[in-house]
Subunit: 453 residues, 2 copies
Amino acid sequence: MGRLTAFTEMMAAEVLKATPTNNEAALREAKRGILDYLASALAGREDAGTIKLLQAIEAEGGHPVAPLIGQNKRANRRQAALLNGFMGHALDYDDVHSDVRGHPSSVILPALFALSSGREISGKCFLDAYIIGVEVMARLGQEVGTASYLKGWHNTSLLGGVAATFAGARLLGFTARETQNAVGIAVSQAGGLRVQFGTQMKPLHAGLAAQQAVQSIEWTQQDFHGIDAALDSGIGFLHVYGGKATDEAVQTALTENWGKTWRIAEPGLWFKRNPFCSAASHGADAALELAGLRLTVSEIEKIDIVFPPNGDAALIHTRPKTGEQGRFSIEYVVALALLGQPFTLGNFGTAAVSLEAEKLMEKMSRSYDAEHKPDAQAIPKGRFTIVRLTLADGSVHSREVCVPKGSPQAPLTDAELESKWCESAPVQHKADRIIQAIRGLENGNMSELEGFL
Amino acid sequence: MGRLTAFTEMMAAEVLKATPTNNEAALREAKRGILDYLASALAGREDAGTIKLLQAIEAEGGHPVAPLIGQNKRANRRQAALLNGFMGHALDYDDVHSDVRGHPSSVILPALFALSSGREISGKCFLDAYIIGVEVMARLGQEVGTASYLKGWHNTSLLGGVAATFAGARLLGFTARETQNAVGIAVSQAGGLRVQFGTQMKPLHAGLAAQQAVQSIEWTQQDFHGIDAALDSGIGFLHVYGGKATDEAVQTALTENWGKTWRIAEPGLWFKRNPFCSAASHGADAALELAGLRLTVSEIEKIDIVFPPNGDAALIHTRPKTGEQGRFSIEYVVALALLGQPFTLGNFGTAAVSLEAEKLMEKMSRSYDAEHKPDAQAIPKGRFTIVRLTLADGSVHSREVCVPKGSPQAPLTDAELESKWCESAPVQHKADRIIQAIRGLENGNMSELEGFL
């Protein structure tokens, strides 16, 4: 069976004793993360998938305990986690994290909001739990993330539910034993495949993972029991979904240097300016620079888009039919940029791709360069995208981007984040009040913030 | 990305056009399967896990649409599938299937019961859907099952939710497109790890898979969309969880000879006489024969238990602390048999293992014989268990079993099944009426049967 190291126990011990809000950078990024998540969820509140899922929830019924963001309605905790998770990720507008290779906040925050409702939870405790959830998800990502992602899982759900369960246990002050039990319940609900990218199931993965955390916490509160060492053995979570790392490597990834820095701030969350997959951000910025050349479609002979090997794994659509599929297509994003069309929500919806964009995409091909050395600051590490135009007159124009705008190395300012919020919020005065509430959250309590959702 | 064959579409086409109740053997076994599932669920109705889960469901709230078996209560469809699935598998008393390497009926039937409630569903349609669900699960098991099981998944949940979704689509008369969509939603909820064996999560895997099917069907009814080719590509369900079979092998396993025979009857469901893992059944029968020697603990020097390689993969406890863990321990089962203690529910509960059994288990060891050729009838194929006692006086007594009682090669009679039912049922006259209703189910409708649950 292999491994016998008590990873679950070690993680639970770290999670329960940490108070990362003492770290100024972590506290600051956590508040930005909440703001950005709420902006993303509000932007998704009228998405077609949101409406369908809400109908399904209403058909089920349930005690109205926890708020559905931007809907002016409540549902039970499980349902709220499901829908709020979906909305956060609906437009692929929410944060990503390079260690996770996925989306932390749209899983962790909906679970924590759902578990906080109707309870006396301080803003400080909530922020601690959130920072810890991101920390766990990033550490799991380092150990499991690349292997699981390349095999076909969507790390947002696969790792997010386990991380959000740890966070929920910290939020509610679980004992070590209860925490390990909840994680045991969580691993058996983990899953979610990348093959869904470009369908409504991709954002639902965030909701399912948040639901998984709520179920794991609630069933533990009923004393329902799972394995208390779910991460440990040769048939445990890390081994089944992860790679073949040694016990020592796993232990380092999961528990070394807890609390020295926090991954929510280092390398940090990456907030999106645009509603498409972050793996397309480098190419988008490169194409925006090239758009300055103001070329017509007929002037362009061909377009080469160059990645490091596997750097485009998330971009599963090369010839998308709809804007929704286009969220996972470097070709579509580059086409929009070169055509001077904005990266608005409308251009990434269910409508068919324009004929003009289709024509331009026909000229594109992808290639991979394992030798090319990108900027040392590249995010994720080693990532770059080169967009190279060959024109009908034989001239070549090329741009490379390693650090896209919005990434931790080129972060959105607070003002930019707040303006993303205001664009997404249905009512301006409410937006201002939530921004105020989040600014002082470490001194407030969650019922105040919840009142504005 | 590999595979491009349209497995999902091909499976959906077969599922939607089949009417397996025309096959006498399949019809007969389906009715026996329903009886056995209901007996197993009723036997689990007061299990500690059942009570906790019911409390969690009641705390959530929901429209009371579908019956909770033996509880005289209703819940929403999702919750009913969850609890009824758990109850069916709670005591490991429910059927298994050798192609699945897991438990089909405790996933498929709770999903179908939940989806039938309050709708006009004929008994014939229900039986067709059930037989088809078992068929799909067995075919997935043949393609994915051994690889996924050995890697660490519990096939009951991993394959069951997908199979139950196909069955639910057949039950409700979905179109091919709707069926493929529902399966797309299902694959992203698939999971469940064997590391849980011996905890309450193991039976909950059946419930989670049934819940997964209900969610997949209900969200499809709301027109929520997932990938319509979830089984097909190199990052699809079959490839991520399964082995490295060729497209041709997969196609054969999934679609060849549909409807010539039905796997519910050939090789057939295996109904349990005893509430422990079927992988311990061979050793249990061997030990029962040896118990005729009436040996005392001190007369026994050592006990060797011999399996084919991996034949004991499900039996993860060698020194169980409780009867519950003992459900997955050949040592505990052999100890009970040799000590003359019956295989009652009480001996497989949460109580600690007796000192006497502990003492006897200390003398046991497992070994593996890859060369030994078992009986051609062995079930699963190639399986055997040899229990070999070496006594203090140097004599050796050995028994081998390849075909345990209850398996399709040595099936329980209808009378034995009905008596399992009557032992589990809370009220005798109700038992008689349900047995009658199931006998004529192909001519009745589901609301009649539901009235007795």
